[in-house]
Symmetry: C2
Subunit: 197 residues, 2 copies
């Protein structure tokens, strides 16, 4: 009844907050700033949300859930590790691209979560990363990937690239998320160097 097109007032508050947190950072964003963006008084925000941090929590955990779901789809599939890795990368990028603002907040502001939320968030993240590490490990086992690569470095490089995307990706550019994921995968898997022939 009340989805995507017709955002509830609470969802509107959260979306505007995401924009604000992205621009100024969570700590530097005041509830008065947020209220102004919505055209209401600061005190009125509290009829929709319990606290400033509640907004951050829903932004971070909602996206974490989407990332997890995307990866689970990929893990179900058969096929070579390089293909799984490619699909995992594309999935991750698609989730981010659906809401780049939320993705930027997820990335840069999660550390302002208080306990126990912060702990819980970091556990979800390490789990997600480890599942990508497993895919790389699988590729090494099957001989698709070099046996001497540093798995930790590989996976950190991958996530650095992925997570930095909200900072430079232009959603109005002509490159679509899926192609971006394809190209990024190709670069990580095959490298910059021209292949011998």
């Amino acid at each position: 009844m009340d989805t995507s097109v017709n955002l509830s007032r609470k969802e509107q508050v959260i979306r505007k907050a995401a924009e604000l947190f992205r621009e100024k950072g969570y700590a530097a964003s005041s509830m008065r700033d947020l209220a102004q963006k919505l055209g209401i008084e600061a005190a009125s925000l509290y009829s929709h949300i319990k606290s400033k941090e509640e907004i951050l929590q829903s932004l971070c955990f909602d996206l974490a859930t989407e990332f997890r779901k995307s990866l689970e789809e990929v893990e179900k599939q058969k096929g070579p590790a390089s293909e799984k890795l490619r699909k995992g990368i594309i999935g991750h990028i698609q989730v981010m691209a659906k809401d780049l603002t939320a993705a930027a907040v997820f990335m840069n502001e999660h550390r302002h979560l208080s306990q126990p939320y912060l702990r819980q968030f970091l556990l979800l993240r390490i789990n997600y990363i480890n599942r990508f590490k497993d895919i790389i490990e699988e590729g090494i086992q099957t001989g698709e990937f070099k046996e001497n690569i540093d798995k930790k470095l590989a996976v950190m490089t991958l996530f650095s690239s992925l997570n930095w995307m909200p900072q430079w990706y232009d959603p109005h550019s002509n490159i679509v998320p899926q192609d971006l994921g394809q190209q990024l995968s190709d670069m990580l898997i095959n490298g910059l160097k021209r292949q011998k022939h």
Copy 2:
């Protein structure tokens, strides 16, 4: 007379501030927090520094200068583009590794600079990135690199990986910055995939 071993009080203040800014973020760090870390009263900080932002300014611009100097050394040298790229990457990592705390602040907190400092900082950064882009361009021209790579994507991936390093690199690990740079270069240039033979 008064270098590295014997930090001036001002340098001590800036170092402690860097630790604090890294942990909590610039906006969430109060001058009272900083004073406490130094064992003095908040008001006393102002005999050493002019303002909170002055600290951020010196952290950001000092490191920017070191990055620029490192890249200039590399640009002077002859040799294939892949070699220049490798040396540029190692240089960048070495600069960061010399002070990971400052590097993390440089990366994550520069946006809290006020104008005109922010503008100036961003200009330095875009210039630095473009010079890496030129090296990649050179590699494409000479046929070392694939002709169909997306230069912007390549350079963004590179800097994502580089700049995210302060978040996960453990200075007590047995891998030295130079080796890390070597491995990262190899991964970007040659990719994860096992080479045919």
